[in-house]
């Protein structure tokens, strides 16, 4: 079959993508696309009303995700996806709101919103593509960069301790915390499905190859080399104590679902509390009468 004959070819995933914007801007081998596919797959499998799903990104390579997925989608400002998503969720509690952004966006400049949303148990799902660097701006050191890794603003290697994002999310009260690599596509899909089915602040970290910058600058080879590293070094530990899941440069990566608990969300707390204090005159918010 020659390519010309295949006019009808249509990847089922396309239902969830803005095909009029494909090809995307990501580099060959960049893992962001893989995570998008997992996300689309999870959406496909979910029972959600897809018109009620909103995706919010900040700015970055990962921040471009909002521009490719065919939901109501927002490409906001750097670091502010979470408070923007908070507004969406609170103003229309029917929505399923997913924040999809990079590690720098969520835990660098956006760190404060991240910890406060987790604290409040704001009912959103945060998917964080962790490529260990600020990729969009050309590969600078990030708060997730493992020690000694080389980046353009750590030209002699990074000497700042990185965040263990899973632990941070957990410490702030997230009710669902998982970490995978972009090799764990079925796990990522499943985690997204699980998190979408839950209420509360969910955090899924996906370690993903940035081939052009992180890998090249650290001479780690191409995408396949990175996936091989994930394969060799990732260790699944469901329920692992999040304090123990730090990531070293090219060291072991502990993956798994670390936290999965139930706790009333911000809106639930608000409704319960206001009903208790205001009594009948209070109409619970976001609850269909």
């Amino acid at each position: 079959m020659k390519p010309e004959e295949r006019v009808e070819e249509r990847n089922p995933i396309e239902d969830f993508l803005r095909m009029d914007r494909i090809p995307h801007i990501w580099c060959p081998g960049c893992g962001i696309g893989t995570v998008v596919t997992s996300f689309a797959e999870a959406m496909k499998k979910s029972e959600l009303d897809l018109d009620k799903v909103a995706v919010v990104s900040g700015i970055g390579c990962t921040g471009r995700v909002a521009g490719y997925v065919k939901f109501d989608s927002f490409h906001t400002t750097h670091g502010r996806a979470i408070p923007f998503a908070t507004g969406l969720k609170l103003a229309n509690p029917e929505l399923k709101v997913v924040v999809f952004s990079g590690d720098g966006d969520i835990a660098g400049i956006g760190g404060n919103h991240f910890i406060h949303a987790a604290r409040r148990n704001m009912d959103i799902l945060v998917i964080c593509v962790n490529n260990f660097n600020y990729a969009m701006t050309g590969g600078q050191v990030a708060a997730t960069t493992p020690l000694t890794a080389n980046l353009s603003t750590a030209p002699f290697g990074n000497f700042e301790y990185p965040f263990n994002l899973a632990y941070l999310a957990d410490a702030c009260g997230a009710t669902y915390v998982a970490r995978w690599t972009s090799l764990h596509i079925r796990r990522v899909t499943k985690s997204i499905q699980e998190a979408l089915a839950k209420r509360g602040f969910s955090f899924i970290e996906v370690i993903t190859p940035c081939v052009t910058l992180y890998a090249r600058r650290n001479r780690l080879g191409d995408g396949l080399n990175l996936l091989k590293y994930y394969y060799d070094k990732s260790e699944m530990k469901h329920g692992a104590d999040t304090r123990t899941v730090d990531i070293d440069f090219q060291g072991k990566i502990i993956v798994g679902k670390f936290v999965d608990k139930d706790k009333p969300t911000f809106l639930e707390c608000m409704n319960t509390h206001l009903q208790k204090t205001l009594g009948d005159k209070y109409v619970p918010y976001g609850v269909k009468p």
Partner: protein, 210 residues
């Protein structure tokens, strides 16, 4: 004043071509060279280019408006930038990576299998230097000495020697080609038959999305 565009795809060292050329003319050929690059997130892996304006005087307007030399190292880039080439411009291209389309009459065309040459030298990353050498030989807007002097600091130290060899390979190939061309020209010495195509509207090209 000379206006040159190097083009190809991300990862081929296209920006470096512009830098080396700009540095060579500015620091070692006693001219003024302003190098700019098309810069965009979307440069990742797709068409990419760098521009050099060379002048005897200070360069004011920093961009090329109608390049007289276009160096193309990929099909995409060739297709994108060919239309802006001056009617009497020079097109320099990688013969393995670019398939030429029918060309405007007065445009001069020179091809070099730069990637293949580089692969023969052991690594296709030298393709841009082969191309630069070829460009230097063909275009004569910058001296080979200046170009070679410009390399340190712009190519990794440990590859300096190899880069110079690549450059020379391309340069020699270009000089040879020119010599051959001269011969042929003397043989044929025919004026162009078709009238030149009407000059496209002269506006500075908008910065294209890439």
């Amino acid at each position: 004043m000379n206006e040159i565009r190097f083009s190809g795809y991300g990862g081929q060292g296209i920006i470096r071509c512009g830098l080396i050329t700009g540095k060579a003319v500015s620091l070692f050929d006693n001219k003024f060279g302003t190098m700019t690059q098309s810069f965009g997130p979307e440069a990742r892996g797709s068409a990419c280019s760098s521009q050099v304006v060379i002048s005897e005087d200070r360069v004011l307007y920093p961009y090329i408006t109608r390049p007289e030399i276009l160096v193309s190292m990929s099909q995409d880039a060739y297709e994108k930038y060919e239309p802006e080439l001056r009617a009497d411009g020079i097109l320099i291209y990688d013969t393995d990576l670019v398939r030429l389309k029918p060309l405007r009459a007065q445009i001069k065309v020179y091809g070099v299998p730069s990637t293949r040459f580089a692969e023969e030298m052991g690594n296709r990353i030298f393709a841009n230097l082969v191309m630069l050498g070829f460009f230097t030989g063909i275009s004569q807007v910058v001296s080979a000495e200046a170009m070679k002097k410009a390399l340190p600091g712009l190519v990794p130290k440990r590859f300096l020697e190899l880069n110079i060899r690549a450059f020379e390979k391309g340069y020699d190939y270009g000089i040879e080609l020119l010599a051959k061309e001269k011969q042929e020209a003397q043989k044929e010495a025919k004026p162009p038959e078709k009238p030149p195509l009407p000059e496209a509207k002269k506006t500075p090209p908008r910065k294209a999305k890439q």
